[in-house]
């Protein structure tokens, strides 16, 4: 058999090549235990693509995927890509307004939605096709609009796809929405080339093959899912989808990883910390686990030591990169972790497909070892945010390259590579999710009794960060904290809900009449250390 080329131009080619070579192998295992082979997955994706084309979708059209993680969702994603459309995965448990705002922002032409989300999807004016997944023929969709189609019917459609020759590396493959500072989520728009360059890098470093069994812990709207989905399917491996419910139960997850003999695990450090603390790992056999990858936030060394002590045999990698670049630097973590180490591990050196530059505020490179902003260039760097016109201030040109400002401050260590220092803006990470503190403030301002809101984040040894919301309320009308929590649960994703609410008559201001965040930050830090 000939060596397969590493230079696919399009994500669909990974599946199509694997369907040829590994047709009868299991491609994806659903959270309910059912599975599809490579041939079945490719066939279903062709039918979905045929259906979308028959519905008049054009290359470049956006298609929402709003449903819990399932084999259905993977089929839909590849069907969308084969029609040369872009998929837009959205958290089906997010507040309805947020789902609507994301689907509306990129003018989706079609949506694959679970029964519970089909109504929200149908509200989006441009969504002329809504496929209701998780329903058998006709059931549950008959009461919906004439634009609604049952999943089973779609799978009966004649196969069809955009001609492979028409595929272009610059075609948008997916749009991942992240928290935006003004309260409107930002759509990070990524092309096939962006994804393929990253996936091919994974091939060279992680050497996967058809005997690997990958975890899929991250939801599809989270960029960690790109590695899970495409690296495993490129190599004929088997992908084990982990449901949201299972993903929240370390005890069940620990049993799942062992009983399915997973070989590659990829998640945020938060999840690995929970597995180490609550997973009772000692009672199972993890000898098949060969790779543990983590990304999305700093891994507190205490927790990293804990997991590496309980899972001593796999090789550990810290992968770093914002959604805009996917993974762009990486570091292998030597185990065991020395007992006296307290400093988090570095984010390492640039991946082979990326270049890095550390510059000062004037965009002049800093001397090695000094702190500066990390800029990245390479084929995995995104083109822009959906719908954003004009120059993107996050980019600049140098040496004929386009450099993206990650917003992360780093310094270079000659032995270990880049060390993450922090941020200068108001973006924080919690459980791997990016949170713009301004996004939370705009939600709070929608509360009728709130007249002023300011949100700060303070470091926390266990949780990574704690989020404190300072609020001033309209006269004589103070909501309870329970009320505010309930309000936030309807206005924001759960990971963005503040940990504490603090009431003030008015918010402190600086001499230029801006909210004095530094003062609030100090107050929060002081209250946090008192509570310890």
């Amino acid at each position: 058999m000939s060596e397969r080329s590493n230079s696919a131009a399009n994500l669909c080619e990974y599946l199509e090549a694997s369907a040829q070579r590994f047709g009868d192998r299991v491609a994806v295992v659903d959270p309910d235990g059912s599975s599809v082979t490579y041939r079945q997955l490719n066939d279903r994706a062709d039918r979905i693509s045929g259906f979308l084309l028959a519905r008049g979708l054009q290359p470049g059209d956006r298609v929402g995927v709003v449903q819990p993680k399932s084999v259905t969702g993977v089929c839909a994603i590849f069907g969308i890509l084969k029609a040369r459309c872009a998929y837009v995965p959205v958290d089906s448990s997010a507040p309805a307004d947020r789902i609507r705002s994301i689907l509306g922002n990129c003018h989706v032409r079609a949506v694959f939605a679970s029964p519970g989300c089909a109504g929200v999807a149908a509200d989006v004016e441009t969504a002329k096709t809504v496929v209701v997944t998780g329903t058998s023929t006709g059931q549950g969709s008959s009461s919906l609009s004439p634009n609604a189609f049952a999943w089973d019917k779609v799978l009966e459609h004649e196969p069809g796809r955009a001609l492979p020759a028409s595929r272009h590396r610059d075609d948008v493959a997916y749009i991942l929405y992240t928290s935006g500072s003004t309260g409107i989520p930002k759509g990070v728009t990524l092309t096939h080339e962006n994804a393929v360059s990253f996936v091919d890098w994974c091939t060279s470093v992680f050497n996967p093959d058809e005997h690997d069994r990958f975890s899929s812990h991250a939801p599809f709207h989270f960029d960690l899912s790109i590695l899970d989905l495409y690296v495993s399917l490129k190599h004929g491996s088997t992908l084990y989808l982990i449901s949201e419910e299972l993903g929240k139960s370390p005890a069940k997850m620990a049993a799942f990883i062992a009983s399915n003999q997973l070989t590659v695990w990829y998640s945020t450090p938060s999840i690995l910390s929970l597995l180490a603390e609550f997973g009772n790992l000692k009672q199972y056999d993890y000898s098949r686990l060969r790779l543990v990858l983590f990304a999305g936030e700093v891994f507190p060394v205490k927790h990293l030591r804990n997991i590496t002590a309980q899972w001593p045999s796999p090789v550990y990698f810290n992968l770093y990169g914002p959604t805009e670049t996917n993974v762009c630097t990486f570091a292998r973590i030597p185990t065991p972790i020395p007992p006296d180490r307290t400093q988090p591990y570095p984010i390492g050196w640039p991946c082979s497909h990326c270049a890095a530059l550390v510059v000062d505020d004037a965009k002049v490179p800093v001397p090695k070892g000094e702190e500066g902003l990390l800029y990245i260039s390479g084929p995995s760097v995104f083109k822009g945010y959906w719908g954003q016109t004009g120059e993107n201030p996050a980019f600049f040109e140098r040496d004929g390259q386009r450099w993206y400002n990650t917003g992360d401050v780093v310094k270079e260590d000659p032995a270990d590579g880049f060390i993450y220092v922090g941020r200068r803006d108001r973006m924080v990470k919690r459980r791997g999710y990016r949170i713009e503190l301004g996004d939370i403030e705009s939600a709070l301002y929608r509360h009728q009794q709130i007249s002023e809101a300011a949100v700060v984040a303070i470091p926390d040894a266990d949780a990574g960060v704690k989020i404190h919301a300072y609020v001033a309320t309209v006269q004589d009308s103070q909501p309870s904290i329970v009320d505010l929590k309930v309000f936030c649960s309807k206005a924001l994703p759960a990971y963005m809900s503040p940990d504490a609410f603090l009431f003030r008559d008015s918010l402190p201001r600086t001499s230029t009449d801006k909210v004095d965040y530094q003062k609030l930050q100090k107050e929060s830090a002081a209250s946090q250390s008192q509570a310890k």
């Binding site: 329970v482 929590k485 309930v486 809900s497 940990d499 609410f501």
Partner: protein, 90 residues
């Protein structure tokens, strides 16, 4: 220590939830039937910590399949669950 009554368990759980998840809130605003999980007052990590607290405090074992909203969304359900577990284990 004598066995706590259901009302005592409710009060202990109310204090625990207030201290851990609702700093600054008045006890009177946290009712027996206030939703805790579905309102994001307690997130998935918070639930694990609360279960650890309950297991230690009431010397019971909570199985993974019991850790859903049917038992852990409201203080009254949590107290009932704890009492049932204690009864079953006695």
């Amino acid at each position: 220590m004598s066995d706590p009554s259901t009302d005592q368990i409710k009060e202990e759980m109310r204090q625990y939830v207030l201290n851990e998840f609702l700093p600054g809130e008045k006890a009177s605003n946290l009712h027996d039937d206030t939703p805790l999980r579905s309102s994001s007052i307690i997130d998935s990590v918070g639930l694990l910590r609360m279960i650890e607290f309950i297991e230690n405090r009431y010397t019971i074992q909570v199985e993974a399949h019991e850790a859903g909203v049917e038992n852990f969304d409201r203080i009254e359900d949590i107290a009932t669950f704890i009492q049932n577990k204690r009864g079953a284990g006695a």
